[in-house]
Symmetry: C3
Subunit: 133 residues, 3 copies
């Protein structure tokens, strides 16, 4: 397993980490198999979505903000970031991606994103090689 | 890894692919381990849910339509299918299922579905053998 | 694969199963690799979230109840638990966690929870060793 660091720019952002992941494959020794990308955080997740049009990220963050409002009167978590925990729970904190010939095997429009919901921060991702074919 | 094709019947549908997955296990050479089922699309995901009563699929699609409306005034993605991207992000684009004795090991009521949110289309699923026990 | 049993206390609850998972690693023979935690149920999932403050679980269950109301007039599933199926679909039914040196490798604040949405019940989790590093 190796750890990479990702700086996030704002309270909420989808940060495209696809290039960072591809760059880490040689260090992992991963040529064929699957890559596990794991966020060890509880207010930042990982997801795979459209990379060509950044407006998809905008629309996702917009709607999640509406569905999980920052200042919900019923929240009891005291740090004021309950909304960030809830968005992370819904988006998920890890993905598993096929790797072939030393490259991530993503769909044409897919990219891997760190989903920041309580930044800006320095975040970490844990990358593991998973055996398979 | 092998690729299978799935035709979806309408803009939104949960298509039960459990039989297709089981039929692909011999070609994958997968007897014991885990099966990774990956959608390379950004407007169609994969999930595991109740298979006995198709009304569960109806209810899920109904409520996701209400929570991620097709014509939200804030959306900026120009293709008019932002809602499909958002639903896919929430449902997820892959599952990992135990396999034992050449059969998928699902719970009694579980089936695997391709979740179409922007069809009808020909979709693909990427199936990988993952080593484990 | 081994199966563990989890008793849930109420209709909805996040039950911290981290200790049960760690206790099962020796029986699985899992020292280094990844642990797959799979719920074979369609109204109970698995997720990784904040473990230090139980109010995060409260806030998540509260908001999911509001977004997926129990008595939605459009639901057609006859058993009256459509909401539980929908919450499970959104939260997910499995997680994959790195294991190193015979211990789960979780983030500082992360714990693994069985997410019960239609209890109280005896639930099962299927634990598999996944090969990787």
């Amino acid at each position: 397993m190796i750890e990479i660091e990702v700086k996030t720019p704002s309270r909420e952002a989808l940060v495209n980490v696809t290039g960072l992941l591809e760059a880490a494959l040689p260090e992992l020794g991963l040529v064929d198999g699957l890559l596990h990308v794991y966020s060890p955080h509880t207010t930042a997740g990982v997801l795979i979505q459209e990379g060509a049009d950044p407006m998809v990220a905008h629309d996702l963050l917009l709607r999640l903000r509406e569905l999980f409002p920052h200042g919900h009167p019923g929240y009891r978590h005291l740090e004021g970031n309950a909304d960030a925990h809830l968005k992370t729970a819904v988006v998920g904190n890890a993905v598993l991606v096929p790797v072939a010939g030393g490259r991530l095997k993503l769909g044409t429009w897919q990219q891997v994103f760190l989903a920041e919901f309580d930044g800006p921060r320095r975040r970490r991702l844990w990358l593991s090689q998973v055996d398979g074919r």
